[in-house]
């Protein structure tokens, strides 16, 4: 194994090397968090694109809700026309319309600031957009996500997004992109690109609040492959038995690949994997019993690796010197 370690400057494109790189990419988003019980919890950071997408979805929903509120209030006011004329009348109708105008401003303010607060303080810690994309907010420390954290991360959103955008829109309205426009653009870009320049993909609000956004996976408990009756019985009525030497060639990584292949259950993949294993251990691949063969091999390989684990001997993959 030592012989495979590449000399700097000369990277060998081995299967092992590619695999290590894929793992490193996946792990660059993996974080381990120690719960108060002392159990390491594996979290995966949400991708930056997922977060941007969640924000878009939230904006679309918010925009629709604001529009609906505006239309409803305008309807109550009895039509948008002559609204401003009447508002200046000083009559009872004028006061009523003025009141509705204030309600409208308050509703918009609430939507802008309350939307994220309300949903992120809920049981799921996610706005509808985040929920749709399967991500949520969590405390970086591993402790409780508090109201103050949610508040802080969303107050900063105002400066990161709403402020420069409204400013940019007003500047563009004048048709003059002078120094102010450039400053607003720079400001917007600094905050928008902030998540790209730190390891944990935090935006400024996350940094201040002590939070991060992680994936919230929902997995079903699947049947254990090894417990399937077919694992022990072949269709022809026989059971496969593999010897020590036949099982010693593979490690945990190959076991997991095999598990995935079995769960996907695609006939051509099963046949290919069976052929590969048979070639490795010098058996003749039988036809029509690929699944039974692989289930039996999986169960016995797992039994072997797990008993090794109990004794403190682990074999990461086929390149590891076996025990």
């Amino acid at each position: 194994m030592n012989a495979r370690i590449a000399i700097p400057g000369r990277r060998v494109r081995t299967e092992q090397g590619l695999r290590a790189r894929a793992r490193a990419q996946r792990e660059s988003r993996d974080r381990v968090l120690i719960t108060p019980e002392g159990i390491p919890l594996h979290l995966t950071l949400a991708t930056r694109s997922a977060r941007a997408g969640a924000l878009m979805i939230d904006f679309i929903i918010m925009g629709a809700a604001m529009l609906a509120a505006t239309i409803a209030l305008a309807y109550i006011a009895g039509g948008v026309f002559n609204l401003f004329q009447k508002a200046k009348d000083g009559t009872a109708i004028g006061h009523a319309i003025e009141f509705l105008f204030i309600v409208w401003l308050a509703v918009l303010f609430l939507f802008r600031n309350g939307w994220f607060l309300f949903f992120e303080l809920g049981a799921r810690g996610a706005t509808p957009g985040k929920r749709l994309l399967g991500i949520r907010v969590a405390a970086r420390s591993g402790g409780r996500l508090t109201a103050e954290m949610v508040l802080a991360r969303n107050l900063l959103r105002d400066i990161e997004l709403f402020l420069p955008i409204t400013f940019l829109l007003s500047v563009k309205g004048d048709g003059d992109m002078g120094g102010a426009g450039l400053a607003a653009t720079a400001w917007f870009l600094i905050f928008a690109l902030f998540p790209c320049f730190n390891r944990d993909a935090m935006r400024a609000g996350d940094l201040i609040a002590g939070t991060w956004v992680v994936e919230a996976p929902k997995r079903k408990l699947e049947a254990a492959m090894s417990a399937a009756p077919a694992a022990r019985t072949a269709a022809s009525g026989g059971a496969y038995r593999f010897g020590e030497a036949d099982l010693a060639v593979y490690g945990e990584f190959e076991l997991q690949v095999l598990e995935r292949v079995l769960r996907d259950n695609r006939p051509e993949a099963l046949a290919a994997v069976q052929a590969k294993i048979c070639a490795k251990i010098g058996w003749d691949p039988g036809r029509g019993e690929e699944r039974a063969f692989l289930e039996a091999y999986y169960t016995q390989l797992r039994a072997r690796l797990e008993s090794g684990m109990r004794l403190g001997r682990r074999k990461a993959d086929k390149f590891t010197e076996g025990s």
Partner: protein, 364 residues
């Protein structure tokens, strides 16, 4: 001892076939006994607990907290710990990736619920008013004092600049065309800007607009604390220099007393809010510049959360200030009345922040 696929283990096969044909309960026990792997037996023995926790967590996530039985709620932390311990055992003994992934996800979801936000927006707000806000304001400590000193210095600087050269007035004051408040204006004109606007149109709408505007300024003052607090200070100086310039202008025509009354109605609340916002920004900036024994990120987080609580209150103060500015100032058309309103607001805020020392934890 290599064995070939042709060799059959017929004894075992018949036993398995017999067991799986049995009744359900019996079949389950039998399945546990018959599972080839120790890790599968481990899983089968505990699967019930896992499924139960999954059910409870799913119901909480869907917001059905109220329809849950006390039994389930009490079971949640216990089940969470059981499953968490299952996970740590499984990590050492099992190579079933699907089960490990499931447990990982389940413990994570359970952890989010057990250590999730305890407060809804409503309970948070009640605690916030019942002591949390004033506690956070006091927590700003020295930064509040610095922000106050900067505001006083800004006012004096504004006054002195304009006194030295009246041209400065146009640079400091957000001067609009047709605004009568310029150097050289007569006492009568200036007096007219302070009194007699009670019949103005669209007063409340004006108040709402002012609020939006001021809220943005103060949020800006806070957010700029992010750049080590320096922009927060500059914003404070710029705003108070305008105030100083205005004071100088009215002083020149002997209207200082009336101007102070005019400003104090909403100004005591609004300037207080701006002071808190600047203090909060400075607090974050100082924590980042001088994190002490914590890491920069931790220090920023700690200060940021406290400052955020203060800022939520600042927004609330600005609502009140806008109401005072839009209504009270126009309706009370004499200086003693205005000073009374402004002064009592000032006393109220000081008492609320520094004399009202209730523990917010006990309020719930």
């Amino acid at each position: 001892m290599a064995s070939k696929p042709s060799m059959l283990d017929s004894i075992r096969e018949s036993r398995v076939a017999g067991l799986f044909g049995g009744r359900k309960a019996a079949a389950q026990d039998a399945a546990i006994a018959a599972a080839a792997l120790r890790s599968d037996r481990f899983r089968q023995e505990r699967e019930g607990d896992w499924k139960r926790l999954e059910g409870i967590v799913s119901r909480i996530e869907r917001g059905r907290m109220r329809s849950m039985s006390d039994e389930d709620l009490l079971a949640l932390p216990v089940l969470y710990r059981t499953v968490a311990s299952s996970l740590s055992i499984a990590r050492e003994t099992s190579l079933d990736a699907a089960t490990l992934g499931y447990l990982d996800g389940l413990v994570q979801r359970g952890w989010f619920q057990v250590y999730g936000p305890r407060q809804s927006l409503g309970t948070w707000f009640a605690r916030f008013l019942g002591g949390g806000w004033s506690q956070a304001v006091r927590g700003l400590g020295i930064d509040l004092v610095v922000a106050f000193a900067v505001m006083v210095a800004g006012t004096i600087a504004g006054w002195l600049l304009v006194a030295g050269d009246p041209q400065w007035y146009y640079a400091l004051f957000p001067y609009g065309d047709g605004d009568p408040r310029v150097p050289g204006a007569s006492a009568a004109v200036l007096h007219g800007t302070l009194f007699g606007n009670a019949q103005q149109d669209g007063m409340s709408a004006f108040a709402a607009y002012l609020f939006s505007h001021n809220a943005q300024i103060s949020i800006l003052a806070f957010a700029l604390g992010f750049a080590f607090g320096i922009p927060s200070l500059m914003l404070l100086i710029q705003n108070t220099a305008t105030l100083g310039a205005m004071l100088w202008l009215y002083h020149g025509q002997g209207q200082l007393y009336d101007l102070v009354g005019w400003l104090s109605v909403h100004g005591t609340t609004e300037l207080y809010a701006i002071l808190l916002a600047g203090g909060a920004g400075l607090h974050v900036g100082r924590a980042m510049a001088f994190p002490g024994e914590l890491s920069v990120v931790e220090a920023a987080g700690q200060a940021g959360r406290r400052a955020a609580t203060v800022m939520a209150g600042v927004v609330l103060m600005l609502v009140i200030a806008a109401m005072l500015e839009g209504f009270a100032r126009q309706l009370i058309d004499n200086t003693p009345g205005r000073l009374l309103v402004g002064g009592s607001m000032l006393v109220f805020w000081c008492a609320y922040f520094f004399a009202f020392r209730r523990d917010p934890g006990a309020a719930a």
